[in-house]
């Protein structure tokens, strides 16, 4: 008996464990986070809204914004900032014409922005489910997300031209054939983008009343993006571009229109006008600096009006600035050590180097191009000249520099640092006292010291540096952050002038908006400058001449802001502009005579194919319906 009991006892575990069989594998407790939780309540849904914003390209990062080092506005040593990883090479490669299809520089946007678009769509699909969000707020959020979806599409169109439009998400387990989407004609792309912006408008606030919300999308932002989209659509790159006529989908659909339509410029001009009105409606105006600490000379006040229109956060002409990309590192890359007592500050690099052609792009003090000014000796621009007392706020008195650096417009001195140039601010704020200046020849204070520090051209992008940033010992650099400006009122004015000139030819309204910008820069009107000082005094009266003037005005006003890169593409001027040499002064030289000889740093090449990014080859193997851009 006892034995049998024992046996039963031994057999028990088997049945005991068999019993719990079905539950044993249910190890996952309730409430493990899944995507449904993201829309369960307002607080969480707002995080998803911010997720949609998180895909905003980081424009202030030289490694992420192709428009900084990918054109001809700025150059840099190979090893900028991140020692060894050569990431700066990424966009210099584009500038030099080394783009490729295997792993295209900047090609990550194809991935990132389509992800952003997918998240925008997820938000739009689910937002109605959230129980505790009020109707107006919900409308606003939906509008913001629609705007972002439009912006992300626009960013891709600028890069790639015609793109697949992801109006709605395909399911995760979609059939392989279904996910192989086609590119859509550029006109469809632009109209879809403007459609989205129009839909977004109604729910957006006129203004961000709460300072903590600055950077969220408002009606003026949406309208000015719409203006920019339509100007882009009307520009020669997208309006009747016959170079691209061979780009057709596998089913034969042409992706580019080849007929120029002046109507597009009219629509664009109207959109610009609407945007300007909306901006004025909320009190925006071109920024001018008013001295607060002390009295300043007009020269310095004017310089700060120019510099601060970019570097003072949320000044009166900022329509849209990207708070997802604060400007810190790029200021350190533009800044050089100015204090002779504290020259080995390793927090600043001074790597961002405007090439000689950018220095030559600025007007003379009379507000006309250096080639046209009948008082300015263009042919002797590389000869030497010594600064006198009259210009001591621009050039160090008694310092010998190239004639190129003399008698230039205020924006030249506000935007550029150079050998002999005075550099206001950065700790020295009294312009009656000795200000900082740059001595950049070999062996001098700011002479190039090795690969990591210094400019490669002999110019610096002073414009990007907030004047209140201070260099202090122990390699400290205190930076006044500002969100990267995506749209300034002066830029919008120039878009309007451009569109109007293209639609109707020169006229008072065209001049008016250009002159507003010139006035703030301390220049006379187009009419008077050209009439008086240009060797082509009637240039502004004909459409082609005025176009040239607007293009140059825009390149000067928005220099270093990542606009020129896209502008010269949409103007189809890149093959002409980006096929020369990048030049700078001869930095290895110790004396002025030898230093001020232009030397070639790099040669650029730009072919028709370079107007658009190549789609990564792998993506095309994954989706045979995607046709590669021409020439790649």
């Amino acid at each position: 008996m006892k034995k049998n009991i024992l046996k039963v006892v031994f057999a028990l575990p088997l049945f005991f464990f068999m019993n719990s069989c079905t539950d044993y594998l249910d190890v996952v407790p309730d409430n493990v986070a899944t995507i449904d939780n993201a829309f369960a309540m307002r607080a969480q849904a707002e995080k998803f809204l911010f997720t949609c914003y998180s895909y905003m390209p980081h424009d202030a990062d030289i490694n992420l914004n192709p428009a900084i080092l990918g054109g001809d506005e700025l150059w840099s040593p190979d090893d900028t900032w991140a020692v060894g990883d050569q990431r700066a090479r990424r966009f210099l490669n584009i500038a030099e014409g080394f783009q490729n299809i295997v792993n295209p520089y900047g090609g990550f946007y194809w991935n990132d922005l389509y992800r952003g678009i997918r998240d925008c769509n997820i938000f739009l699909e689910n937002i109605e489910k959230v129980p505790d969000v009020e109707e107006t707020e919900k409308r606003q959020w939906i509008s913001e997300v629609k705007f972002l979806k439009a912006y992300y599409h626009f960013y891709l169109v600028r890069m790639y031209g015609p793109i697949p439009l992801i109006k709605e998400n395909l399911p995760i387990d979609a059939d392989v054939n279904e996910v192989q989407v086609f590119r859509e004609p550029v006109d469809s792309c632009f109209s879809y983008i403007t459609e989205l912006i129009d839909e977004a408008l109604e729910g957006l606030p006129v203004e961000n009343n709460d300072a903590a919300m600055l950077g969220k999308i408002t009606q003026p932002i949406a309208l000015s993006l719409k203006a920019k989209v339509l100007v882009t659509a009307a520009s020669p790159l997208f309006n009747g571009n016959s170079d691209q006529s061979a780009l057709v989908n596998p089913d034969g659909t042409p992706l580019f229109n080849t007929e120029f339509s002046v109507e597009k410029w009219k629509v664009a001009a109207d959109a610009c006008r609407a945007a300007i009105d909306a901006c004025h409606g909320v009190g925006m105006k071109l920024y001018t600096y008013t001295p607060v600490f002390q009295d300043l000379t007009d020269t310095i006040t004017n310089e700060l009006s120019i510099r601060n229109s970019v570097t003072e956060k949320w000044n009166s002409e900022i329509i849209w600035a990207n708070t997802q990309s604060n400007v810190d590192r790029i200021q350190a890359l533009a800044q050089i050590s100015l204090d002779p007592e504290n020259l080995d500050n390793t927090a600043v690099r001074g790597n961002l180097s405007p090439p000689l052609r950018i220095a030559e792009m600025f007007y003379t003090e009379h507000g006309v191009p250096i080639k046209e000014d009948n008082t300015w000796d263009y042919n002797n621009r590389y000869s030497l000249e010594t600064a006198d007392e009259n210009i001591s706020l621009y050039l160090k008195e008694g310092y010998t520099s190239a004639y190129l650096n003399f008698d230039r417009e205020p924006r030249f001195y506000a935007s550029l640092g150079f050998d002999g140039g005075v550099w206001y601010g950065q700790g020295k704020f009294d312009d009656n006292e000795q200000l900082y200046h740059v001595e950049a020849k070999n062996g001098q204070w700011q002479g190039k010291t090795g690969q990591l520090y210094g400019s490669v051209t002999g110019y610096w992008a002073k414009k990007l540096v907030n004047f209140e940033n201070v260099l202090s010992p122990n390699s400290l650099y205190s930076v006044d952050y500002y969100p990267w400006p995506l749209m300034r009122l002066s830029g919008l004015y120039l878009l309007y002038a451009e569109a109007l000139n293209e639609a109707e030819g020169p006229g008072p309204e065209v001049y008016e908006y250009v002159n507003l910008v010139r006035e703030r820069a301390g220049l006379q009107s187009v009419q008077s400058s050209w009439s008086t000082y240009s060797n082509n005094p009637t240039k502004y009266t004909i459409q082609d001449g005025m176009r040239e003037i607007i293009h140059q005005e825009r390149s000067i006003e928005l220099v270093f802001e990542g606009q020129r890169f896209w502008d010269i593409r949409r103007w189809k001027e890149a093959t002409e502009k980006l096929n020369g040499s990048i030049k700078g002064w001869d930095l290895t030289q110790k004396n002025a005579t030898n230093y001020y000889i232009p030397s070639i740093i790099e040669s650029q090449t730009f072919g028709v194919k370079d107007y658009f990014w190549p789609i990564q080859e792998d993506e095309i193997t994954r989706n045979r319906n995607l046709v590669q851009n021409l020439g790649w």
């Binding site: 024992l6 031994f10 190890v27 995507i35 707002e46 387990d173 300072a211 600055l214």
Partner: protein, 1080 residues
């Protein structure tokens, strides 16, 4: 049903013998020295009490010994066949038995010996010498949840005698390749504690996450490292299950094959003590040769200038001229041979094992303790007492005890623990080797000697060179001697097994349950200085020495810092309950049945993530039924029905059946005429389905759930003016999309085996197999980026197939004069190919993986080096960055005018060898034995690393100069230079950084991984009986062995077995002296 079942058979069923047996053995456990007296007393008692057993008849006495060494054999069954009359021998091998008649036959049987029958023919004293039967030891094969007789096997199982796994190394896994047919194996590193070999049963047939076999030690799932630490002296049996029928009972876990190890149990008898001591000398098989410092500097300058004529050269002419010059100041012009400075040429390692086994009627025991001490070859710095050399001390304790609780109930308790204590360099030994390869030899000395002037300094004055602002170069000597890391790893296992004979319900029925728990703990701690770095600055004319300047005053410390490293704690629980049935009907019909229920759970203490912290579980029922008729026809059916917690409810359980048939042709009547020649001929065939649930990295558990981070700072956004007026929130990110359809990977396996025995001595086993894997989890790679997915989606869409041959041949022969010879050969060929692989539709057919091996590497065909820049410009554009004359020219396969991934083709052989083989022989006589073993592998390609970096971004490749990488002598001897434009040079045009054009995977750096090596040589001496008597020992063997003595390969840069990891810790050549002593 494991070893217990065998034990049960040994226990006489006769109640008299049972009592006798129990008494005798219980006493033996208590006190050995009184055995004899007690035994005699007891015998008298039995005679008195058990008088009913003594019927009329004749009394027979005698002694049973072992023929080989004349030692008495205790516990031998002495039976009169066909009756219940029998007894067992005592400790001295003596027995007394009353037999019914003077003409009775007596049968003497004992495990491991050939059973002998002797007719009495009237004699009353019979002394018997039993012959050891190695065959019979092999005959019982351990299979899943039980044992089978080799002659009954249907499935494909390789069983190897543990003694053949003994190698002069503390790592068991390094012995598998070539010795076990069906295993593809290779060892990439010789670093103590990190030298586990990679091995795959029948190669790799899945491109999923896990290709490793299931390792079961005493029925419990353990890791490769646990297997590596197992002491060969503790192993009773070692089996590899290869085909569907043998692994079916492991259902969802057996698809990659199963390794089954059983540890020893005690057997009845006097305490048997066995001691083994080994001491070995370990040295690298091959050291990499580097260019001398002068060449290094010249080439470094050339690297800069050849790429940029205006580039700043690193080494001045005077530095080059003075370096290494007799009489020049070695501190000013350092020329470091880092290997010489940091490493010794060889090291000594020790291993010791002691085990005691024995037992009596109630209980039997096997206890063992092992100790191994493996040291590295790093030198110490005498200035402080830090020991930064690798020292891995590993201790193993094991106690296996089995107890007969009742006549029909047996209980086994197994306790074992394995403990590693390691101390060594902070980043490990392999990293030190790597640092040598990636440290500048000429910029600074390893350290500055203490001179009178600096005698007050209490730290080591390490050399370095200021890169500006206190940034320093890597000084490998400082990295090695600045501190040390300790780690401790403990594995504790406790196991309880209970077997109940259920014959009272049905004859041949038994029940067993087993519960095991395993606790694992690991932690490491580093202690280190931040080294003081000095460089020379300016000459002091007074003292006529150079002034030493401290360059990292801010960061250096002369006190120890401390860093807590990784901690890994986990526990497992395992339960298995099983019903077993075994019966023979009418002598010819043998049937057996098995039904097992298993459940297991593993929990990690520091999972790092909610989903990972949830328990890992498996649940299943398995079964097996066998039938055989007349030892000629055999059939076996086995199945596993398993569940895993990783899948959605309706995908959780899988059913994996298999069927096998075998025919012992040589047991047929018609075979009789040739049976003297063909002693054995057997054919086996199996077919079945097996699963694999380890289909994705551990962090990819719960495929049916999405994994979402609802508070991800990386996906946040912020707004506002700043200065207090700002608003930011984190965002949401998805790292996995849910897919409730994901389930097991399945393998359909077919096996055809032939066993052939010729002239008794030669045995050949060949198995042919094919395998079809379906449901392999893979990334859906054909989804374009326009989908905008944040994580790769996956599905069970992949398919692959494998096929191959396992061949083993062994020959054993004993000669009359005590001489013997054995020879063995193993050959494993395993190949595989992709069948279904989701990939884009390529324009170029050669890009498709379908039909190519799983470990096939794709890359470019390198033609040669460009002659000059002009040729480079006029060739198809290569899209990898700057290139010109002297850089590698690739073939434009698709002729589209540029080199892109579309020009990548399958290159060479797979990276996992397709062929592993081994052969060798042993021969000897009573005193001496000698053996040789060769091992090799073939059909493998590897790539010289020209681009790799480790997890921290430090280079681990051979590309000179980038990251201070040294120059291999082979590169210095053959490279393209402007003076010597050798388009076939080994190394392309120099570059101060990695030239991406030259760093592509291509045929240029592909090498053949095939080799043949003399894996092991051993000479042993066994002491004579006379001597043994003097020292009261039963055996004594002294042996000298050596491993990796010779290697045959075309590849000369480093040991070819290390493959692409040539800059790591080299494979070791070991000379070992050992001693094995047993007392009985």
């Amino acid at each position: 049903m494991s070893i217990i079942q065998i034990k049960l058979k040994q226990i006489p069923t006769n109640s008299f013998h049972m009592k006798y047996f129990l008494f005798r053995n219980s006493l033996s456990v208590v006190n050995v020295s009184y055995n004899k007296i007690l035994f005699q007393v007891l015998t008298i008692c039995f005679i008195f009490f058990g008088s009913n057993s003594f019927a009329q008849g004749q009394l027979v006495t005698g002694r049973v010994t072992s023929e080989s060494d004349n030692t008495p054999l205790g516990g031998v069954n002495v039976l009169v066949p066909g009756t219940s009359i029998g007894t067992m021998t005592d400790f001295d091998g003596k027995y007394t038995l009353k037999v019914p008649s003077a003409n009775s036959v007596l049968e003497y049987s004992f495990v491991g010996f050939v059973t002998k029958s002797i007719e009495l023919n009237g004699r009353s004293e019979i002394n018997v010498a039993l012959v050891t039967n190695e065959e019979s030891l092999d005959e019982i094969i351990v299979v899943g949840f039980g044992t089978q007789k080799k002659t009954d096997m249907v499935g494909s199982v390789t069983s190897i005698s543990p003694s053949k796994l003994r190698v002069p190394s503390s790592n068991l896994t390094s012995s598998l390749a070539g010795r076990v047919s069906g295993v593809i194996g290779f060892q990439r590193s010789g670093e103590p504690g990190a030298d586990n070999a990679n091995f795959f049963i029948r190669g790799v047939t899945s491109f999923g996450y896990n290709n490793n076999p299931l390792i079961l030690i005493d029925g419990v799932e353990l890791t490769t490292t646990d297997l590596a630490r197992l002491n060969v002296d503790d192993i009773e049996s070692f089996s590899i299950l290869k085909d569907a029928t043998s692994t079916a009972v492991y259902g969802a876990r057996g698809a990659n094959g199963v390794i089954l190890v059983k540890t020893k149990m005690g057997s009845v008898g006097k305490a048997k003590i066995s001691v083994r001591l080994e001491n070995s000398i370990s040295t690298a098989t091959k050291n990499i040769e580097l260019a001398d410092p002068v060449t290094y500097m010249k080439m470094a300058n050339e690297a800069v200038r050849t790429r940029d004529p205006l580039g700043e050269i690193l080494y001045s002419d005077s530095k080059i001229a003075n370096t290494g010059l007799p009489g020049s100041d070695p501190l000013l012009y350092p020329a470091n041979d880092w290997r010489e400075i940091m490493f010794k040429d060889y090291t000594m390692n020790q291993r010791a094992n002691l085990n005691v086994s024995g037992g009596g009627g109630v209980a039997r025991y096997f206890v063992s303790g092992s100790f191994t001490n493996d040291t590295g070859i790093m030198k110490k710095n005498g200035t402080n007492n830090l020991n930064n050399n690798i020292s891995l001390k590993s201790y193993t304790l094991r106690a296996n005890v089995d107890v007969d609780v009742t006549k029909s109930t047996n209980l086994v308790i197994r306790l074992s623990g394995n403990f590693d204590d390691y101390t060594g360099p902070i980043t490990g030994g392999s990293d030190m080797y790597n640092l040598i390869m990636h440290s500048n030899p000429v910029l600074f000395p390893a350290f500055f000697p203490k001179t009178e002037k600096y005698k007050y300094i209490n730290h080591i004055m390490y050399g370095n060179y200021d890169r500006g602002n206190g940034a320093a170069y890597i000084n490998p000597y400082a990295e090695m001697t600045k501190g040390y890391k300790d780690y401790s790893r403990s594995l504790m296992l406790a196991q309880f097994e209970l077997t109940q004979d259920l014959s009272f319900l049905a004859k041949g029925l038994s029940f067993r349950t087993m519960v095991n728990t395993k606790r694992n703990a690991y932690f490491d701690i580093s202690r280190f200085y931040n080294p003081y770095y000095y460089q020379l600055k300016g000459y002091d004319p007074v003292s006529e020495t150079y002034i030493r300047e401290l360059i990292n005053e801010e960061s250096a410390t002369n006190y120890l810092g401390y860093n807590e490293g990784e901690k890994d704690i986990n526990s497992s629980f395992y339960l298995e309950s099983m019903l077993n049935y075994n019966h023979t009907f009418n002598e010819k019909h043998k049937i057996s049945g098995l039904l097992v229920y298993i459940m297991q759970q593993r929990l990690a203490g520091n999972a790092g993530d909610l989903q990972l912290s949830l328990p890992f579980r498996n649940l299943g029922i398995s079964g097996r039924a066998t039938y055989s008729y007349d030892d000629r026809y055999f059939a076996e059916f086995a199945f596993g029905y398993n569940g895993s917690e990783r899948f959605a409810k309706n995908e959780r359980f899988g059913f994996f059946p298999s069927l096998g048939l075998a025919w012992s042709v040589s047991n047929e009547k018609f075979f009789e005429p040739i049976k003297s020649v063909v002693t054995n001929l057997r054919l086996r065939a199996t077919y079945g389905l097996i699963g694999n649930d380890a289909i994705g990295a551990p962090e990819d558990r719960f495929f049916y759930l999405s994994n979402v981070n609802l508070n991800d700072g990386g996906r946040g956004a912020g707004f506002g003016r700043g200065d207090g007026a700002s608003y930011s929130l984190n965002g949401v990110s998805i790292s996995r999309y849910s897919n409730p359809k994901i389930t097991w990977e399945k393998a359909t396996k077919k096996n055809l085996g032939i066993e052939l025995g010729l002239y008794k001595d030669l045995n050949i086993t060949v198995d042919f197999y094919t395998e079809d894997r379906t449901n392999i989890l893979m990334d859906r790679s054909a989804i374009p980026l326009t989908m905008g997915l944040a994580a790769t989606t996956r599905a069970n869409v992949g398919e692959a197939s494998g096929k191959g041959v396992d061949l083993s041949i062994d020959y054993k022969r004993s000669f009359s004069n005590g001489k013997w010879l054995t020879a063995v050969g193993n050959f494993t060929y395993a190949t595989n190919e992709f069948k279904v692989f989701e990939e884009p539709t390529y324009d170029e057919a050669y890009r498709s993986r379908i039909g190519n091996p799983i470990n096939q590497v794709y890359g470019y065909i390198a033609e040669r080096l460009f002659v000059d820049d002009e040729e480079a410009e006029n060739s198809p554009r290569q899209n990898f960055g700057e290139y010109g004359g002297g850089d590698i020219k690739y073939t434009d396969i698709n002729r589209d005018g540029q080199i892109t991934p579309a020009d990548q083709v399958p290159l060479g052989h797979p990276t996992v060898p397709e062929i592993t083989y081994g052969f060798g022989f042993s021969a000897g006589n009573k005193s001496f034995d000698f053996s040789l073993f060769f091992q090799g592998l073939a059909n493998e390609s590897f790539w010289i690393d020209v681009n790799g970096v480790d997890a921290n971004g430090n280079p681990i490749n051979t590309s000179p100069f980038q990251g201070e990488t040294q120059v291999l002598k082979a590169y210095a001897d053959s490279y393209w230079s402007e003076d010597n434009q050798d388009i076939n040079a080994l190394w392309p045009r120099l570059s101060p950084t990695i030239n991406q054009n030259n760093a592509q995977t291509s045929t240029r750096f592909m090498r053949n991984g095939a080799f043949l090596r003399l894996k092991q040589v051993e000479i042993g001496y066994t002491a004579s009986e006379n001597f043994l008597k003097k020292i009261h020992a039963s055996t004594l063997r002294v042996y000298l062995n050596a491993s990796n003595l010779l290697t045959f390969s075309k590849f000369k840069l480093w040991d070819v077995e290390q493959g692409g990891q040539g800059l790591g810790y080299p494979v070791q050549r070991v000379f070992n002296l050992g001693l094995n002593l047993t007392f009985n």
